[in-house]
């Protein structure tokens, strides 16, 4: 009996299989997926609420409807205070760290799974693609919900501060870019929040997944959380 002893190249996996496996993983692990996604939602909600809140205040300020409560000199020209800039930077940091942390946790607890898949013949890039798909979906849905929550929060706050006038001057669309290039409008801010959330989650998941896939399976499977 002749049996081939030739070692061949491993074949590429069809994209449909990756898609199916990653969605199944999200679905069955629903509770855990929700917690990870909530981490993304929280980060983006905070970020977008700071952004949109700022946007609303600037719009109302411009409309002349509100007397400025804090009238620092620097604020008069730019329309944006150092305190606001500080808050925006802080919210960005909180968002980046929060999302990276929640993705890292979610991937690390699955190192053994990654090692096991490699034992069964998975190529590194198959493992990475699985996590790209999962985290991309979680990132998009988490960030979208977060952006909406953040915006609703800002609107409620705006209603409290400015009353119904808010809706007459609501900065839904970008302002004239020549006059105020930094005034992007609520829609663009929501979009930016979604993109940022998705990009951060994908990087936050794909990087540790790629590291784990590079490891010899024996090492990956030893990793305890």
């Amino acid at each position: 009996m002749e049996r081939p002893t030739q070692i061949e190249q491993q074949i590429e996996l069809p994209f449909g299989e990756s898609l199916r496996i990653s969605f199944q993983s999200l679905k069955i692990r629903f509770g855990r997926s929700i917690i990870t996604t909530a981490g993304i939602t929280l980060g983006i909600a905070f970020l977008v609420s700071v952004w949109t809140n700022n946007e609303i205040d600037l719009a109302m300020q411009e409309s002349g409807r509100t007397e400025q409560i804090t009238s620092l000199e620097e604020e008069q020209e730019q329309g944006i205070s150092t305190k606001d800039i500080w808050l925006i930077i802080m919210s960005l940091i909180v968002c980046v760290v929060g999302i990276a942390n929640s993705m890292l946790m979610a991937v690390t607890e699955r190192f053994q799974e990654i090692g096991t898949m490699k034992c069964l013949g998975a190529l590194d890039r198959f493992v990475v693609r699985l996590f790209l798909l999962e985290s991309g979906f979680q990132g998009l849905s988490g960030a979208l919900i977060g952006a909406l929550i953040g915006t609703i929060g800002s609107i409620l706050l705006g209603l409290k501060n400015h009353g119904l006038d808010l809706f007459f001057y609501f900065p839904l669309l970008p302002a004239n870019p020549e006059e105020a290039p930094m005034r992007l409008g609520i829609i663009v801010l929501i979009l930016l929040g979604c993109i940022l959330g998705m990009v951060l989650s994908v990087i936050g998941a794909a990087f540790p997944a790629w590291r784990a896939a590079q490891l010899p399976p024996a090492e990956a499977m030893r990793t305890e959380v």
């Binding site: 061949e8 190249q9 074949i11 096991t116 034992c119 069964l120 013949g121 998975a122 024996a218 499977m221």
Partner: protein, 242 residues
């Protein structure tokens, strides 16, 4: 002498932990023939799992070579190693290592997906394998809905997914009670006989002795001795007498 499937030449494995170097394997030379059932025995920390990882290409040796079917494993590309793990070896672990989100059938068919089998072929084959290990009625249960013994049966079915030439088992019965452990050993033994597959199993389990063709005793990263079946029978008698 039958054809050699696995051959190790002076295999050394060192683990570096900061400035400390642990020499887990200190020059292992063994040859295993096709169809043999080999047990690796030895105290905890003697290097059984490390040797298991070297033979199964789950980690690379620090020195020496592992040959499978005459092929030097260190010469293979990453893609060829993936193919090798997929087609040539079936792994069975102490902690089962099933994918928790997948049903028994999906766990068994995953290596077949990696091998490129069609949906129809792999479901058919997966069901056959689950029948073979006595889990024909549990195909759609997920691991958390199965007992330890049943999980290990799924893992065994999965190990046979792509008709491997070697089955590597690292303490497959360590988490099971005596009777279930016995059943698992017998199952592996039957598959070894029926399919002519070579079995290499690390174990502390004395029940494993009387099904083994040879026993390799490992101590401090070295092969201490190799016993044949006829020598084993006597000792099993002794063990039973206690």
């Amino acid at each position: 002498m039958a054809e050699t499937v696995v051959k190790t030449e002076n295999v050394v494995k060192e683990y570096r932990m900061g400035t400390n170097v642990v020499r887990a394997l200190d020059g292992i030379n063994i040859e295993i023939a096709r169809g043999e059932y080999i047990s690796l025995m030895g105290p905890s920390g003697s290097g059984k799992s490390t040797l298991f990882n070297m033979i199964g290409a789950l980690d690379g040796p620090t020195g020496g070579s592992v040959y499978i079917d005459g092929q030097d494993m260190s010469q293979l590309s990453r893609s060829q190693i993936a193919w090798f793990r997929c087609h040539r070896v079936g792994y069975i672990f102490q902690s089962y290592n099933l994918l928790p989100v997948m049903s028994a059938l999906e766990n068994v068919t995953l290596p077949m997906i990696f091998a490129g089998l069609s949906n129809r072929d792999r479901n058919k084959k997966g069901e056959e394998l689950l029948n073979l290990v006595g889990l024909g009625d549990r195909t759609h249960h997920r691991p958390d809905e199965l007992s330890g013994g049943q999980r290990q049966r799924v893992a065994i079915a999965r190990a046979f997914a792509n008709d491997p030439t070697i089955i590597l088992a690292d303490e497959p019965t360590a988490n099971l009670d005596t009777i279930t452990g016995r059943e698992i050993i017998d199952l592996i033994r039957d598959l070894n006989r029926g399919k002519g597959v070579t079995v290499i199993s690390a174990t502390h389990d004395l029940k494993m002795l009387d099904v083994s063709d040879r026993i390799v005793d490992i101590r401090d990263g070295l092969v201490e001795r190799i016993r044949n079946r006829d020598e084993i029978d006597i000792e099993v008698g002794e063990v039973g007498g206690h």
